[in-house]
């Protein structure tokens, strides 16, 4: 009898917690969805509708960024940068920022290597995406999750 009582109480508690969590989750997914649409459109504009493949491109970013105002990021693409094997451009996307676009690098035969480093702002913990467009039209993608301690978009 006593056992049953505790079980019921536990169940009641669990149920209450579950109900409380539902609206919070819905709210979160609603916000994420709006940004996700922007990101999807941005990526589609860059790729021209091509499905990004994995490999070739490597995105380097810290796992934890204490200051979201200045997060170092490096991107490099495995390419000879000569003859037909060329990288045209590389785009960085931060899907959790108020505006997902970060920067687009354009390379030429004089670039020698398709690699670049910069510092970016991250509003909150999120995934950073790097996309590379090759001269033959193929698209490669890499993704890194960066945990942000202090957001970097002000306001």
């Amino acid at each position: 009898m006593e056992d049953r009582m505790t079980l019921t109480r536990r169940r009641v508690l669990a149920l209450t917690a579950g109900f409380a969590a539902v609206p919070a989750l819905q709210l979160l997914s609603g916000v994420a969805h709006a940004a996700a649409e922007d990101t999807t459109k941005l990526i589609a504009d860059f790729t021209g509708g091509k499905e990004p493949q994995s490999g070739k491109i490597k995105l380097t970013a810290p796992e934890i960024a204490e200051n979201g105002n200045t997060v170092p990021v490096s991107v490099s693409v495995d390419s000879k940068m000569a003859d037909g094997d060329m990288v045209q451009s590389v785009m960085l996307v931060a899907e959790g920022n108020p505006r997902p676009e970060v920067v687009t690098f354009h390379f030429t035969a004089l670039s020698g290597a398709a690699a670049a480093t910069t510092r970016m702002r991250l509003a909150k913990t999120q995934s950073v995406i790097a996309l590379a467009k090759m001269a033959d039209g193929s698209v490669y993608m890499d993704k890194k999750e960066v945990k942000v301690t202090i957001g970097g978009c002000g306001g």
């Binding site: 920022n97 004089l110 670039s111 910069t118 978009c153």
Partner: protein
């Protein structure tokens, strides 16, 4: 209003013909994102460097389209293949139309 943006560029003095070198550039600029608000709650208008290019002897080496998510004092590091001696020209374009430039010579031995 911040002081006039000052570019700083690091280019090796010499290179071997065809060598791939690394270039580092920095320009002092507040990169106002257009997302921040002042004390009265008004949005501070966006003012950023939106374009960067690097040329060697007039030929494009590297360029970047920059959005507000790039940090203040934008830093860019990239590489260049140097076929011959010449001059690197770096150009930054501000939202207000101002253009900031810097030039560095490189000698091929």
């Amino acid at each position: 209003m911040a002081a006039t943006p000052k570019p700083r560029v690091k280019v090796p003095k010499t290179a071997k013909a065809g060598e791939v070198i690394v270039l580092k550039t920095l320009i002092s600029h507040e990169m106002e994102s257009g997302q921040r608000k002042d004390k009265e709650g008004k949005v501070i208008p966006r003012k950023i460097i939106n374009k960067f290019t690097c040329e060697l002897n007039g030929q494009l080496v590297f360029s970047a389209d920059i959005d507000p998510a790039i940090s203040a004092n934008p830093y860019l590091e990239f590489s260049a293949r140097v076929p011959e001696s010449g001059t690197f020209k770096f150009t930054w374009v501000d939202d207000d139309g101002s253009i900031y430039t810097d030039e560095q010579k490189i000698e091929v031995r």
